[in-house]
């Protein structure tokens, strides 16, 4: 039933947070389905409720809570939707409270980025105590459709794979304007990211007139994650959610 599709990596960024890969033989609808699932349907942990025990900083409790909510947390895949983890933060000035100061009850859950400044705490002159921030927070496991802070995928998108056809020679006295193309082109079965020729087709095919065509049903995905999981996990979980929904539909209509 599943059509033969093919996945090929073009490049992988550092720290498993970024990747570009080509998927062949999927319909445009399915490609978009994967993209949407990566953004909205893959659950991540994110701080959702904050109990402020002490906050003598210059920012309001709600502002601090919002900032904490946006910090990506590494997310193990054995959580259930709605499950929570408790984290705590206790920092006294003078100094800065960082995301890395968050301590969690589950040691697999920790801030993915540790140098995000939450709030700068001062020790004001004339005050007997320095500023202090002490909070307890519940991170909840939920999907990106509920709140953008739960989105695991960042800047997820795709382009058609393209081919360049040489149709003749360029006008000898024509303007030598660049012919900009961004993405990945296929030439004799070889995949060439346009970065290789500075996104300018006139550099790769000097003196030629070219036409660019889309390769049908071949999509180049660009996926970045916020650090809560690796690109591999994000993509496979996104496909799993589509699979889950398809089988749910199948059961519902009793085919």
């Amino acid at each position: 039933m599943a059509p033969d599709y093919d996945v090929e990596f073009i490049d992988r960024g550092d720290r498993d947070r970024e990747a570009r890969f080509l998927v062949r033989d999927v319909s445009p609808a399915f490609a978009n389905g994967i993209r949407r699932a990566m953004i909205a349907d893959v659950p991540t942990l994110s701080i959702d409720e904050v109990r402020v025990i002490e906050n003598s900083s210059v920012m309001f409790d709600e502002q601090i809570a919002l900032r904490l909510g946006l910090v990506p947390l590494t997310t193990p895949d054995d959580y259930e939707i709605g499950e929570t983890v408790t984290l705590a933060l206790d920092v006294e000035g003078p100094g800065t409270a960082y995301s890395g100061d968050l301590v969690s009850t589950d040691d697999r859950v920790e801030p993915a980025d540790k140098n995000v400044p939450i709030i700068d705490l001062k020790d004001p002159e004339g005050s007997e105590t320095p500023q202090r921030l002490e909070v307890e927070a519940d991170a909840v496991y939920d999907v990106g459709r509920e709140h953008a802070k739960h989105q695991g995928g960042v800047a997820v998108g795709y382009r058609h794979l393209q081919t360049v056809e040489i149709v003749g020679d360029a006008d000898e006295y024509g303007d030598d304007d660049p012919h900009i193309l961004r993405g990945v082109i296929e030439e004799d079965g070889e995949l060439i990211p346009t970065e290789e020729f500075d996104h300018d087709l006139t550099q790769r095919y000097p003196g030629k007139e070219v036409e660019v065509h889309d390769v049908p049903n071949a999509f180049v995905f660009h996926v970045e994650t916020d650090g809560s999981m690796s690109v591999d996990e994000l993509v496979t979980q996104a496909v799993d959610t589509i699979h889950g929904r398809a089988s749910e539909l199948k059961d519902a209509v009793q085919l």
């Binding site: 959702d48 409720e49 109990r51 906050n55 003598s56 409790d61 809570a65 909510g69 802070k149």
Partner: protein, 44 residues
């Protein structure tokens, strides 16, 4: 309710008759102290 005088920084208790005034230095600007309760905030 506990307030703090903004001039002499002493704790002030307000009663019905005294008006808004620090009983120690007579200053009329009082600051309300943050409650010691734990405050729950929803992130959204």
């Amino acid at each position: 309710m506990s307030y703090k005088c903004s001039r002499c920084k002493r704790d002030v208790e307000l009663d019905e008759y005294g008006g808004v005034r620090c009983p120690y230095c007579g200053h009329r600007v009082l600051l309300k102290e943050r409650s010691r309760d734990v405050k729950e905030v929803d992130v959204n």
